[in-house]
């Protein structure tokens, strides 16, 4: 059981070590969805939900694996649980909000390969978080992901209205913006200790 307090875990995951801007997790969808604020928010919500479920499942799986002494099954079981959760979210979304489902398009199944979720499960295992700590961790990570997405989408929408040289347009500009955001987030270092 890790000694960190809940508040510091949350702040750490959301701000100080933001999953996207500090750990580079979740970059593919980050650059794919962040050009429009609305899709960014929806993606963020979906990812946050999957993160929460994945965190709880990873904790339970880990207990099971430790009990049977099969640590080598960790990666494969985590990723299978994550894919199933994403399938579940897809089905729920199709049923309850078909418009959102269509708007998300290819990005929804891509959440499975979103390194952020598997990264979340692996980090919480490596740091030996207890159950509540793991939940707080996933909430913080989700919040941080949404925050980074919103900031990024906001900037990119503005950028599109401006004259940007052809070579720099698109991904290159997005990368530079991400780099600057990342530097900004470094200012949160030490928060919550």
């Amino acid at each position: 059981m890790n000694d960190a307090s809940y508040w510091s875990i949350f702040l750490n995951a959301a701000l100080v070590n933001n999953f996207v801007l500090a750990y580079f997790l979740g970059i593919c969808p980050f650059f794919g969805v962040s050009s429009r604020l609305e899709t960014a928010l929806r993606m963020g919500a979906a990812v946050s939900f999957v993160m929460l479920v994945a965190s709880v499942c990873a904790f339970l799986i880990n207990l099971l694996l430790d009990a049977v002494g099969a640590p080598y099954l960790r990666i494969i079981s985590y990723i299978l649980v994550i894919s199933s959760t994403v399938q579940l979210v897809e089905m729920l979304m199709k049923k309850f909000s078909p418009a959102t489902f269509r708007a998300m398009g290819i990005y929804l199944p891509l959440i499975t390969t979103n390194c952020a979720i598997l990264g979340l499960a692996l980090f919480q295992t490596n740091r030996s978080y207890g159950f509540t700590q793991a939940v707080v961790f996933s909430l913080g990570a989700g919040a941080g992901f949404v925050l980074a997405l919103i900031l990024m989408a906001g900037v990119r929408e503005k950028l599109e209205l401006n004259e940007v040289p052809d070579l720099v347009k698109g991904t290159v500009a997005a990368l530079v913006v991400a780099g600057i955001l990342s530097m900004g987030f470094m200012g949160f270092a030490g928060l919550g200790r």
């Binding site: 801007l21 580079f24 650059f31 494969i76 390969t113 290159v172 990368l175």
Partner: protein, 213 residues
């Protein structure tokens, strides 16, 4: 409709430049940026990913008639995760230090969109021999891309290359380059260069047509 025959060499070479996973397809960026703060880490990560690409591509290709369409993603993920777990233990057996340096990112190879993408787009539809070549090409292209980023970050950020100092002590290292921001900037820089080269090539290819028109 005649299918354009692609030579085996082309299967291999396309991953190096034309369809480079990082700079052209913009896939697999997470590890590209995360572990490229030193050239050695970048190389190790690239090789580990190449190993998984090769083995999973080969397996998927060998089993392609055995895996039904509906269950294919789950099966691919299982196979990829198996080889990622394997490479994780192999690295641990090889060098504890390297394993610690790469950390959780070895396990994260399993969600590298590149591997699933190649399994789905190529290995499931081609012979094992071609899949091997494709995997090798993509893997080496990926490793080279990672190395480019890693070399820039390490030289500017630590003044060294593979641990050996290459810049004089008087050089004030750009620490930002070994921080996450540096990853974004280095990637942006290389992408810019690649875009420029591609644009020049496209312009050159267009010019003769314009002249004759």
């Amino acid at each position: 409709m005649a299918k354009k025959t692609i030579t085996p060499t082309d299967e291999f070479v396309k991953g190096l430049w034309r369809d480079n996973p990082v700079f052209v397809q913009v896939l697999g960026m997470c590890p590209a940026l995360a572990v490229s703060n030193t050239a050695l880490n970048a190389l190790a990560m690239g090789l580990a990913t190449t190993f998984v690409l090769l083995m999973s591509g080969l397996s998927v290709s060998l089993l392609r008639n055995f895996i039904p369409r509906e269950a294919r993603i789950v099966c691919y993920i299982c196979i990829i995760a198996t080889f990622v777990t394997s490479v994780d233990y192999l690295i641990m057996a090889l060098s504890l230090e390297l394993h610690r340096a790469l950390g959780a990112f070895i396990a994260l190879i399993v969600v590298n969109c590149l591997i699933l993408g190649r399994a789905e787009a190529f290995a499931s539809k081609n012979t094992p021999a071609r899949s091997l070549l494709d995997g090798l090409g993509m893997g080496i292209g990926f490793t080279l891309a990672l190395l480019f980023i890693g070399v820039v970050r390490e030289i500017l950020g630590s003044g060294s290359l593979f641990g050996y100092p290459v810049l004089p002590d008087t050089f004030q290292t750009w620490t930002v380059m070994v921080l996450p921001s540096g990853g974004f900037f280095a990637m942006a820089l290389w992408l810019l260069i690649v875009n420029r080269i591609k644009k020049k090539a496209a312009d050159a290819a267009r010019k003769p047509a314009e002249v004759t028109a």
